[in-house]
């Protein structure tokens, strides 16, 4: 049994009811026993944490993490990935099915659920594949996958290959049987990319790509599939979730679809919200305007799919996050080995190791005045829980009696990113050496301490 925990005198932000006030939070037996009141007794042996100057909120929920297990254990394991998540304030990680084998059978879902339980208290919720082997042809046994614990479906890493397959997936996942909750509707998440338009990976089509002699990934490659998916959602219903939205045009489409009442949700990553295509030029996105390329150019650690976009896209994304068009921040945590990245740009793997920097980099938006803190926390908790469905709402609240998934952070603490010290096996971040302001101090999942950085 976990030791009772009392967080005293913290700013308690609970986006599930809009509350934001100083107070105490008492956690006993894995649930939130008391919120707000500074009075009342505490059980013997309670650990007391002084939360002065800090914020307590529901633990963060990540809809989109690549934990690599099974099959990619050189890049990450469920144990290292959940440890990284805990350090980043995440208490729930949805893992992607582009594993080997893919998460296309109940056996793989069960393996992941078991490994996650062995690893610790962080919740791991697998997404199943849309298609068997993620090969884009046959639907997986979605009902069986859902029964084993899959919370949604995606062929992420690849788009849902055809309009036909997307239509079938929305229909089928939109009406799963009684064993998974009567008439339960699970989201179909799509990585929107028209491969015939994308000529190269990892750099936006634009002046940076042209400058570097790299084939670009135009916004149109993303927006054409977003349009396809929204049209199909309109046709057959179901629940559509757009992964890692990155362009101003795609945000417009999602905004208009929501206005029409369609059940579409969307996520954006911390890197697309805070960085632009100039980061591929190296030097942390700075000091390249009008200059010769430096040896730091072709920054493979900023190579990601979809690519970092133009500043106008980034601003549209931040505006979409603020107004709710973007429901959730999701990390698209994509750990890779040294050898996957230390090659010429075109040969490098795509993706960033994000879990341990996500919160600090997002706090940059708050400190810059682009977003208020309760909204940011909403998009890390209530927003993603809403994408998963009603039954995950108790993970995104500080209400008494709910599971004690809680994060405590210091919004004003500055720290320097040191990728070598990550819990994640993936050290692949262009933020290495960058100073961020806003740091997770304590992560509690189901009442258990998953990360304790209070001594640091």
């Amino acid at each position: 049994m976990s030791v009772p925990l009392l967080i005293k005198n913290a700013r308690l932000i609970d986006p599930s009811d809009g509350s934001d006030a100083a107070g105490d939070l008492l956690i006993v037996d894995g649930v939130i026993a008391r919120r707000g009141s500074t009075n009342g007794s505490v059980p013997d042996g309670t650990r007391v944490v002084d939360g002065t100057g800090m914020v307590a909120a529901p633990g963060f929920i990540d809809l989109h993490a690549h934990l690599r297990e099974p099959g990619g254990e050189d890049k990450e394991t469920i144990a290292t990935g959940t440890a990284a998540g805990a350090r980043g304030g995440f208490t729930t990680l949805c893992c992607m099915p582009n594993t080997n084998p893919a998460i296309d059978s109940a056996a793989v879902v069960e393996l992941i659920v078991r490994r996650a339980a062995e690893a610790g208290p962080i919740r791991v919720l697998p997404f199943g594949a849309v298609s068997r082997g993620r090969s884009g042809v046959e639907l997986t046994d979605m009902e069986e996958l859902a029964r084993a614990g899959a919370v949604g479906f995606t062929d992420d890493g690849s788009p849902v290959a055809t309009g036909h397959l997307m239509q079938m997936a929305l229909l089928y996942a939109g009406q799963l049987g009684p064993s998974t909750g009567s008439g339960r509707r699970l989201p179909v998440m799509d990585h929107c990319e028209d491969h015939s338009i994308t000529k190269g990976l990892g750099v936006n089509e634009g002046w940076v790509a042209s400058r570097l002699g790299l084939a670009g990934y135009p916004s149109a490659a993303e927006e054409s599939i977003v349009a396809r998916d929204i049209a199909l959602l309109d046709l057959v219903g179901g629940a559509l979730h757009i992964a890692h939205l990155s362009t101003a045009g795609a945000i417009d489409q999602v905004r208009r679809a929501k206005e029409r009442g369609l059940l579409v949700t969307a996520e954006a990553t911390p890197h697309h919200l805070t960085m632009t295509e100039e980061w591929v030029l190296g030097e942390h996105g700075r000091g390249q305007a009008g200059a010769a390329l430096s040896a730091a150019a072709y920054e493979t650690r900023a190579k990601v799919s979809p690519p970092l976009r133009a500043e106008a896209d980034r601003l549209a994304l931040v505006a979409g996050l603020a107004d709710g068009t973007v429901d959730a921040v999701a990390t698209d945590h994509a750990p890779h080995t040294f050898g996957d990245k230390e090659v010429p740009f075109e040969e490098a793997a795509v993706g960033l190791s994000v879990l341990e920097t996500a919160f600090g980099s997002l706090m940059g938006l708050v400190h810059a005045g682009a977003l208020d803190l309760p909204t940011l926390i909403h998009r890390l908790t209530v927003g993603p829980a809403g994408v998963l469905g009603e039954r995950y709402a108790p993970l995104a609240t500080l209400r008494e009696g709910t599971p004690a998934d809680v994060v405590l952070f210091d919004p004003g603490e500055s720290w320097t990113v040191d990728a070598a010290s990550f819990a994640s096996k993936g050290k692949n971040t262009p933020l290495d050496g960058e100073t961020l302001t806003g740091r997770v101090k304590l992560t509690v999942a189901g009442g258990e301490i998953a990360f304790d950085g209070l001594g640091a």
């Binding site: 002046w207 042209s210 400058r211 002699g213 790299l214 390249q288 010769a292 075109e346």
Partner: protein, 354 residues
Amino acid sequence: MTTRAPSEKATTSSTGTPGMGAGPRRHVLDLDDFSAAEIGALLDSAEAMREVMDRSIKKVPSLRGKVVVTLFLEPSTRTRVSFEQAGKMLSADVINIGGAGSAAEKGESLLNTALTLQAMHADLIVIRHPHSGAPYFLARHLRSTGVVNAGDGMHAHPTQALLDLMTMRRHLGSLEGARVVIVGDVLHSRVARSDAFGLAASGASVVLCGPPTMMPLDLLRANRDGGPDGGPDAGSNPGPGRSLPNVTVEPDLDTAIAGADAVIALRLQTERQAAGMLPSLREYTRRWQVTEARMALAKPGALLMHPGPMNEGLEITSALAHGPTAQIEEQVTNGVAIRMALLYSLLTGTEERP
């Protein structure tokens, strides 16, 4: 002649500008960090090297004891042989490594190959690679060995641009105010990109001409919108939002070529037609082939150049290619001279001549 150790010449940090710095240049990755003065000095030095090439014994001892490795991971005849000959005429030891028969074939990574060559105390690696940015990757990781870009993907080919500049300067005198047309597949051309930087630094203006399907989209947009990245840039480096300095795009070759001082026809890879980028090679020649009639629109005495290898009768008519305006063979000769000048400059750290 100074003989400082390469490590003493290393003046760049991992994030610094690769070639420049307080001390002599260690790498040549592109021409975007070359000043007009540095280019001029190299061309002067290359003229002296041409004298060496004209001698009956074409060898001087200047780079005795220096090791130059050519690491060519993409097929090439003229550039590799040109570097090898340049090194040998200066008495450097030149070691040639290709893809086939090397450890690269056994799966050794580029990084480990380069670190191995550095550990053997190679002074310079001359790299040709199918992927843009590979020379930057090496420069980032090598502490003592210099890097020369002999062509990386679609990005840059600085020594080709230098030999083009040398050829133009020999015939036109100063390049200040010259108008140079580059015609063909600009999108995939590392030659066009490096030429644009070298020409901008030298005060020339560049007109890019070719099928819209083979033009960088950002340049087409700038032309279309006249937006923030539109129009020629006065400086030798593009500002934010600009991928190339001082260039304009003109789709019509007759218009582009009118009053030009020089025309550079780019190689067309005929596979691009099958990839849907061109209606037909016949239509390409009708619209973008350099012909006698089109050259007549240029200034009298205008030069015609081609980086090779040429598809004779496609980019340029056969008669023109072998006629008096074409400088194609002289470009090859100048290529050896400019590479001698470059190797000399990099490996001795001075502009002193033999």
